[in-house]
């Protein structure tokens, strides 16, 4: 069994009459890229703030590296790098000066060369002396990532790190997370409401909704038991629909343009259906099976 890096049990937090988090539990193991998935307002940020000791929970336990955050706060935070919600820095200071300030209290102060190297690593080389106030959203996120990684933490917590980024920025952050896992064996907790992001990067996840953790597990295993959506482009389409109705009279499909339809199907049924269409002289131009986290998520959240 891999080492437990984060262990949250029955975490609850109330703000006035609003129950932000209720009985949330999950475990993150060493080397995981762990997805913390939930719609806006689900309680993700509150849970993450409890992990970082920014908020004191009303009840429940939070253990990081096997120690309680409430009793070993400083030693734990020295091994954690976090971006919570959005990276906020001193507007009147340069990128270099901002990193220097946070590095000085990180437990492992970095040299000027290390700070420059990190800025270069996140694509801010040459902008070291520019004021944070003049940075674009993408540059701010990159500086946030630099601040997170500068003291070489074992656990990286990223709360919505791709929000507001352009497509290239999103790809860069994804690649960076995968590099941190694959090349440096870092453990990453990635909070997001972006389902595709979780699906692409994470090996394990928890889904949280209305302050409660609904399901936790391996991303691919969680999705295996679910129906697929099959998108079929074939000709003649009318004949193809007749074959489908004969095969399964209760089948309902959606038309996608003039020559394609999509419908739910179980993975085991696909070979038989393909064979049936070919035997009935239907020309198949494309057959695309989709199993999206989005479908899974909506189903789980609506349960």
């Amino acid at each position: 069994m891999p080492e437990k890096i984060i262990e949250v049990r029955n975490l609850s937090k109330r703000f006035g009459s609003f129950q932000a988090v209720h009985d949330v539990s999950f475990t993150v193991y060493k080397g995981d890229v762990f997805g913390f998935l939930g719609p806006n307002g689900a309680g993700k940020s509150t849970s993450i703030r409890c992990l970082n000791s920014l908020i004191k929970p009303d009840s429940g336990t939070v253990k990081v590296f096997g120690e309680s955050i409430s009793t070993h706060r400083e030693s734990i935070l020295g091994r954690v790098g976090s971006i919570i919600e959005k990276p906020d820095f001193y507007k009147y200071l340069s990128a270099y000066r901002n990193l220097e300030i946070f590095s000085r209290i990180s437990g492992k102060p970095s040299t000027k060369a290390e700070i420059y190297k990190m800025l270069d690593f996140v694509g801010l080389g040459g902008r070291e002396k520019d004021k944070f106030a003049g940075f674009s959203h993408g540059m701010k996120q990159r500086l946030g990532i630099a601040q997170t990684l500068l003291h070489n933490p074992d656990l990286i917590i990223l709360d919505e790190p791709t929000t507001g980024l352009d497509p290239q920025g999103i790809i860069d952050i994804r690649n960076l997370i995968l590099r941190l896992k694959n090349e440096q064996n870092k453990t990453v907790l990635l909070s997001s409401h972006n389902l595709a992001e979780i699906e692409l990067i994470c090996n394990r996840m928890v889904i949280i909704n209305k302050g409660r953790s609904i399901v936790e597990g391996n991303v691919s295993e969680l999705m295996n038991g679910e129906n697929l959506i099959l998108r079929l482009e074939a000709s003649p389409m009318t004949a193809a629909k007749n074959v489908l109705l004969a095969w399964k009279p209760s089948l309902l499909w959606d038309n996608v343009g003039d020559s394609s339809i999509q419908f739910p199907i179980e993975k085991s049924e696909i070979p038989a259906l393909t064979k049936l269409l070919v035997e009935n002289k239907i020309e198949i131009f494309s057959l695309e099976a989709k199993r999206t986290l989005e479908d899974y998520f909506i189903k789980i959240v609506n349960q």
């Binding site: 706060r73 906020d88 820095f89 946070f102 437990g107 102060p109």
Partner: protein, 281 residues
Amino acid sequence: MILINSIYNEIIKIALKPRSYLGLAAITVLVGVIQFALKADGMSIISFVTSSFEQTLSFEGNVLNGNLVAFIILQMLIVQIPLLIALVTGDLVSGEAAMGTIRMLATKPISRIQLLLSKFIAGGIYTLLVIIWLGMMSVVLGKVLFGTGDMMVLNSDGLVILQEADINWRYLGGFAVAFLALFTVSSLSICLSCFTDNSIGPIVATMALILLFTIIGTLDVRVFDPIKPYLFTTHMASWRSFFEDPLPVADILRSCAVLVAHNVVLISVSLYTFHRKDIQS
């Protein structure tokens, strides 16, 4: 070590924030204006003050010298300096909460108590620098522009003449007590700053409290008499006691004790509040 690093961080932040220089610039301008006015028409002001004594005393020598000018300046400016201090120290916590940087700081392996203490210490260093600058501008520049000599002080007991050689230590003592009073203002504004995420609120609230306590202190109403000795504003003018002869040591020590007690309470309340605070900004 991390506390020293954090104090260094706070000093860097204050030093690189343009607002921090407003206080120093304001002192420079205000002192410059007062010194210009005294240079241009100072003797007529002095004559107005000394006219009631001229039948029994004769004044000779450089009456309007640097020592007296510095005293006049300090008396005029000591009301404004707290605002200049609160302008910087009032948002040391709440300004960071409004900016979101307090969240970033609080995820670092430094205890919240150390984090807040570093802000108090940095606020104290800034206050000290403001006092030193005020001293440089009023006493040193005053002596350069107006020369030196014996000092004539008019207080509630009458006219006090202080020998030239007997003055510098009085200014040192006076500035030390003024620093303690202004550090209390700094502590008050940082304390208020711990209760809000709004950066302007604590600055305004600090000034409002100073104004309120000053009014209570000056109102000749019996119901306020029991609390007057315990208001820190009552002791903000204690620096003047150093220019009395004989020196009212007991009064000065009492003022210092009240100011220190205020600081202990304000810092303790701040540490307790900040330590328990949920950071949601």
